[in-house]
Amino acid sequence: MLAYIIRRMLYAIPILIGVNLITFALFFVVNTPEDIARMQLGAKRVTPEAIEKWKGEHGYDKPLLYNAAANGTDKISDTIFFDKSVRLFVFDFGNADDGRSIGHEISTRMWPSLALALPTFLIGLLFNVTIALLMAFFRATYLDFWGVVLCVAMMSISGLFYIIGGQYLISKLWNLVPISGFSGGFDAFKFLALPVAVGVIGGVGSGARWYRSFFLEEMGKDYVRTARAKGLSENVVMFRHVLQNAMIPILTGVVVVIPTLFMGSLISESFFGIPGLGSYTIDAIQAQDFAIVRAMVFMGSVLYIAGLLLTDISYTLVDPRIRLE
C-alpha cells in the first residue's frame, strides 16, 4: 500500500503543474499585468511610470511564460509563471498583490472555515444517512413517497433561499441567533448555529435521496434476503448489514470532500460574515488578485487529490476484499 500511495503522490505532481498552467492561462487571458497594477493602484491619477514601478515591485515586469531575452534556464525560470508557481510546490504562497502574506491569511482563515464546514458536514452526513435509512426502511409506503417528493422539492430550491430565509426567520423574526458575524471561543457557537443548520437543511434533499438509492440497491441483494430469512429483525438488517455494505459508495462521495472542507464555502461565508477561506477566494477574484487565486486553486487541487487518495485508502478499511497495489 505504501508503494501505491507514493506512486499516487508522484502522479499528483504533473496534475498540479497542469492545474497551475491552466489557472495561469485563464487568468492572464482576461487580465494583463497592467490591469492587475491598475486594480491595485486605483483609478485616480495613476501614471504609466507608477504602473511600471508596481509591476517591477511585484514581479509582473517579466514575460509570462518564456523569456527569450534571458540565457540558459533563465529562459524558463525568469518568467512570471515560474516565479509565481514554483514556490507553491513547497507551500510558499508568497504575498498577495496588495503586499500581504497569503500564508498568514490561510493559517488564520482556515479555522473559521473548518468551524463551519466540519459540523455542517458531520451533522449533515448523520442527518442524510438517517433520513435515507428511514425512507429505505419505509420503502414503497406513503412515508417514502412523500419523503422523496420533499427531497426533490428541497434540492430544487436555491441554497441562497435557505440562507436568506433562515436569516429572516431565525435571526430577524424570532431573534434567536445573530444574523451574521463570527467570534472565537464559546461565542463561536451562537454564530455557527444558524449557518450549520442552514447548510444541513439545504443539503438534506440531495443527500438523503442519493443515499436512499444506495440503501435500496443493497436491500435488493441476496445477503439481505438471507438475513431476513434467518429471522433477524429489520433493525438489525438495516443498521448492521445494509448500512455497512452501503458504506463503499457513500465513502466515494464523502471522504473525497473531507480535505476540501478547509477551503470553506463561498456563499455561506459571505452571507454569514464568517472570515474563512471561501470569502477570501471570492474577494481575490473580485479584486483580480492573481497571487491569491493561484494559491487557492493550488490548495484546492492538493486537497482534492489528497481526498481521492484517502477515498482509496478508506475502501480497504471498509471492504477487506480491496487491496491497493
Partner: protein, 741 residues
C-alpha cells in the same frame, strides 16, 4: 445515550454565548460601554498613508493619522482649518531670481511658492513599541535579531511601548516616502510635478535601492525578501526642509493654490522614522504582516487595536491624544439641529469604534434595524422600506423608521456622473457645428430626471454643468440652469421639448436620425463595462433615450479592464464615467475638461479628450487665483463654453442618504473629510434599552416545529411497530411455493 450527554453541553455553550439578548453579535461584556458600532464592506488594501487612496481606507486612517490640516466639521462650503498646525499656511511666492512676489502676482511670474508650516507643540504619538526605550535610553526594539523577531506575530507581542512628541521632521519623512522605491504611492507622479526635488529624490532612491538589493541578493539569494532598511533621512529632498523642530517648509513649482487641500489628506500625515525602521527589520514581514501598512502609528484620536480585516477592525481611544474642542460654530440650522450642543467640549466622545465586516446588504440592513449598527447607508433594495418620496420629490422616513426614532440625513455628494463624448471620434467629437449640435441634441434627449427617478430612487440632482453643489463657482437655480438643455418655465428649469433636439439634429445634418448625405441611419456607439443581467434595464433605457431622435444606439459591453483600456486609447465614441472630488475646489472638476490633460494623449484625467483653446486658457487663469468675483466670472465663462460645446451630457450629482439611530448625536454628512468620528456621541443606555426591546427572543415557533416533527414521526413509528409485528406473516405469504425453507 451519547446524544443525551452532548445536547445539554451544546445547549449550555449556546446559552453562555448568548446572554439575555440571544441574537446580539457582540460580547455581553461590552454592553453599556461607549462604543460606536459600524461596518465595512471591502477589506482595506492599504493603511499606509503614503499608499492609501480609497475612501473606505481613509475611514480608518483618517482617525489614526493627522495631516497638517483638516476640514471644518460643520461649516459649508467646506473650509480648511488647522489640525496639527498653528494656522493654515499661506503661500509665499517667488520669481526665478528668488525675489518675493505679492499674492496678486500673475501665475506666469511665479517661479515657485513656499508654504511654511508650524506644528503645535506637545502633540504625542500613540503608544507603540517603535518608541519603547531600554533602561539605558536606547531604542528597545529597533535593533532586533531575526531570532528575536521570530517569536512575534502581532504588534501586541512586543510588551513594551513608548511615545514621543510629533516633530516637523516626521512630516518631511512622510513626503519623502511618497518617492519610496519599494512601494508605489498613487500621488507620487502628480506631486513630483509640483514639489521641488521630489522627482529627483525618486530617481536617487531608486538607484540607492537597486544597489542595496544587489548586495542583499548576493548575501541572501534571489528569493529572500528581508531587505535592509532604506533610511530616507540620509537623502535630501531639496524642496522640503526642516526649519526647526516644529516648522517645515515645502516649496512647490509655480503657483499651485490647491496644494493646501493636499495637506488635509493622509498622504501628508506624519510618519516617525522609528516606525519605518521598526517595521523594516528582517523577519517582520515574513508571513507576519508586521508592517506599517497593517499596523499604523499616528497621533490622531484613535489607534488601531485590532486589525482583522476579514471580520473586524477596532479603534481604541489614543490615550496620548491631546483632545480637540468640538466646533462652536457651524452653518445655518446646525444649532437648531442640536449640532452645537457639545461646542467647546474636548473630543473624542467615544472610547471605541468597532467596524464589523458585512459583505452582503441584507444581513447588514437587518442588523441595523435590530440596533446592532448605529448608522447605515440605504441600498436600492431597502430604499422603499426606509424612505418615502413626497410629491415634491422631498424625502422623508417611512413610518417604520420613524417609529424607531431613526434619523435621515441627506447631502449632495461632491461628485458627478456623466455621459462623455470622445472628442477624438469623427462623428461626435469635434468643435465643428455639426458635432456640437449633435451632442446638444443628445443632451436634451437623455432625460436625467427620469433616470434619477427610476435607477437612483430619486437620489440625485440633474447636472447643469461640470460643478456639483457645494463647490465654489456652482450656481444654483435660475442663475445656474443650463440654457442649452433647459428652459426656465414656471419658476423652475424644464427640459427642452424633444422637437428642439430633433431640430438640432436636423441642423447637424441628421434629419429624423438619418445622414442627410448618405441617407443611412445614424448609429452611435456606447461603450460600457458590462456587468450582468441586472444592467439590462438600464441599457434598454439608454437605447430608448436615443430612439427618441431615431438614433440607433449600439451598446458595446466589455469587462472593466478592456473598457478602461479603450478609454485610454481613445477608441470609444460615448461612455459613462464619474468623478469624486479630491478637494472642494472648482479646479478639481474643471481639469476633467482641460485639453492638455487628455486621457488618450497624455494619460491625464480628461477622459473625453475635450479640447477647446479658450476653455483651456480660462482654466489656466482660474486655477491659480483665490475665490472671489474674478474667479467666479472665469468659472461662469468656462461653464458657458462647456455647456455650448457639450462634451459631456451633464448627468447627475448623486445624493447621499444616511440613517442613524436615535441614540446617535452630532452626525453630519461630510463629503470631504473622513475624520469626523471623533465628534460623534452615543447614548449607550438608550441603545441598550432599544436593543432589548427590539430583540426579544421568540420561542414558540421552535417549540411548534419540534411538536410538528414529533407528530409527523408518530405514523412512522406506528408503521415500524406494525411491520415488526407482522413481518413473519407477510414474508411467509410472499414466498412462492417451492422456494421456502
Amino acid at each position: 445515550m451519547l446524544a443525551s450527554r452532548i445536547l445539554p453541553v451544546l445547549l449550555a455553550l449556546f446559552l453562555a454565548g448568548c446572554g439575555d439578548i440571544w441574537n446580539s453579535p457582540y460580547s455581553g461584556a461590552d454592553r453599556g460601554k461607549s462604543i460606536l458600532y459600524t461596518s465595512f464592506a471591502e477589506r482595506p488594501k492599504h493603511l499606509d498613508p503614503a499608499q492609501s487612496y480609497a475612501s473606505d481606507e481613509w475611514e480608518f486612517t483618517a482617525q489614526i493619522y493627522e495631516p497638517p490640516l483638516q476640514y471644518h466639521y460643520l461649516k459649508r462650503p467646506y473650509e480648511l482649518i488647522p489640525a496639527t498646525t498653528v494656522e493654515v499656511p499661506k503661500a509665499r511666492q517667488y520669481d526665478t531670481k528668488g525675489r518675493e512676489l505679492p499674492a496678486t502676482a500673475p501665475a506666469s511670474a511665479v517661479a515657485y511658492s513656499e508654504y511654511e508650516i508650524h506644528i503645535k507643540p506637545g502633540i504625542r504619538y500613540q503608544p507603540h513599541p517603535a518608541f519603547a526605550k531600554a533602561p539605558d535610553g536606547s531604542p528597545r526594539y529597533l535593533s532586533l535579531s531575526e531570532t528575536e523577531v521570530g517569536g512575534k506575530y502581532e504588534i501586541s507581542d512586543f510588551p513594551e511601548t513608548g511615545s514621543r512628541e510629533l516633530l516637523a521632521e516626521d512630516y518631511v519623512f512622510e513626503i519623502k516616502r511618497l518617492a519610496h522605491p519599494r512601494f508605489v504611492s498613487p500621488i507620487f507622479g502628480h506631486m513630483s510635478e509640483y514639489i521641488v526635488g521630489l522627482k529627483e529624490l525618486g530617481e536617487t532612491l531608486q538607484k540607492a535601492n537597486q544597489a542595496m538589493l544587489a548586495a542583499h541578493e548576493k548575501k541572501y539569494g534571489k528569493t529572500d525578501k528581508g531587505y535592509p532598511w532604506l533610511d530616507l533621512r540620509e537623502y535630501d529632498l531639496s524642496g522640503v526642509t526642516v526649519v526647526d523642530s516644529h516648522t517645515y517648509r515645502v516649496r512647490v513649482k509655480g503657483k499651485y493654490p490647491q496644494f493646501v487641500y493636499w495637506l488635509a489628506m493622509p498622504f501628508f500625515a506624519p510618519i516617525p522614522w522609528e516606525a519605518d525602521k521598526f517595521y523594516a527589520q528582517r523577519g517582520m514581514n515574513e508571513g507576519r504582516n508586521l508592517t506599517l501598512d497593517w499596523y499604523p502609528v499616528g497621533t490622531g484620536p484613535y489607534m488601531l487595536s485590532e486589525n482583522n480585516p476579514n471580520a473586524r477592525m477596532t479603534l481604541e481611544r489614543n490615550p496620548n491624544f491631546r483632545g480637540e474642542p468640538y466646533p462652536s460654530e457651524g452653518e445655518h440650522g446646525d444649532e437648531k439641529a442640536g449640532l452645537l450642543a457639545d461646542a467647546g467640549k474636548l473630543a473624542p466622545f467615544i472610547d471605541r469604534i468597532v467596524f464589523s465586516r458585512e459583505k452582503e446588504g441584507i444581513p447588514y440592513w437587518n442588523k441595523f434595524l435590530q440596533g446592532y449598527y448605529d448608522n447605515s447607508g440605504i441600498s436600492s433594495d431597502s430604499f422603499d422600506q426606509a424612505v418615502r418620496i413626497g410629491l415634491e420629490g422631498d424625502a422623508a422616513l417611512s413610518p417604520q423608521m420613524d417609529e424607531r426614532g431613526i434619523q435621515l440625513k441627506t447631502s449632495v455628494g461632491a461628485s458627478t456622473f456623466y455621459l462623455a463624448f470622445n472628442f477624438l471620434d469623427p462623428v461626435v467629437g469635434s468643435l465643428s457645428e455639426r458635432s456640437r449640435k449633435l451632442r446638444q441634441a443628445v443632451s436634451i434627449a437623455v432625460d436625467w430626471e427620469e433616470f434619477i427617478s427610476i435607477f437612483a430612487n430619486g437620489r440625485g440632482i440633474p447636472g447643469m454643468g461640470p460643478l456639483p453643489p457645494g463647490i465654489y463657482g456652482y450656481r444654483d437655480w435660475q442663475d445656474g440652469f443650463n440654457p442649452v438643455v433647459y428652459d426656465w418655465v414656471g419658476g423652475k428649469p424644464q427640459r427642452k421639448p424633444i422637437d428642439t433636439a430633433k431640430r438640432l439634429l436636423a441642423e447637424a445634418g441628421y434629419p429624423d436620425g438619418r445622414d442627410q448625405k448618405t441617407g443611412q441611419p445614424l448609429v452611435l456607439y456606447l461603450d460600457t463595462a458590462g456587468r450582468g443581467p441586472g444592467d439590462k434595464s438600464r441599457l434598454d433605457w439608454y437605447r430608448r433615450q436615443f430612439a427618441k431622435l431615431n438614433i440607433q444606439l449600439e451598446i458595446r459591453s466589455t469587462d472593466w479592464n478592456r473598457f478602461q483600456e479603450k478609454i485610454r486609447a481613445g477608441n470609444t465614441q460615448m461612455f459613462f464615467l464619474g468623478w469624486n472630488a479630491d478637494y472642494p475646489d472648482p479646479e478639481n472638476f474643471m481639469f476633467l475638461l482641460n485639453g492638455p490633460q487628455s486621457r488618450a494623449k497624455t494619460q491625464g484625467e480628461n477622459a473625453a479628450n475635450y479640447a477647446n483653446p479658450e476653455f483651456d486658457r480660462l482654466f489656466e487663469q482660474m486655477k491659480n487665483i483665490d475665490n472671489g468675483p474674478e474667479r467666479q466670472a472665469l468659472i461662469d465663462q468656462m461653464v458657458k463654453i462647456a455647456r455650448q460645446d457639450a462634451p459631456w451630457v451633464w448627468g447627475y450629482h448623486p445624493k447621499d442618504y444616511s440613517l442613524s439611530h436615535a441614540w446617535m448625536r452630532n452626525g453630519k454628512p461630510n463629503n470631504m473629510a473622513r475624520n469626523g468620528l471623533k465628534f460623534l456621541r452615543v447614548d449607550s443606555a438608550l441603545r441598550e434599552r432599544r436593543r432589548a426591546e427590539w430583540n426579544n427572543p421568540v420561542f414558540w415557533p421552535v417549540i411548534a416545529l419540534i411538536a410538528l416533527l414529533a407528530v409527523g414521526t408518530l405514523p412512522a413509528w406506528l408503521s415500524y411497530r406494525r411491520r415488526e409485528r407482522s413481518a413473519g406473516r407477510v414474508v411467509a405469504h410472499s414466498v412462492p411455493p417451492g422456494r421456502g425453507g
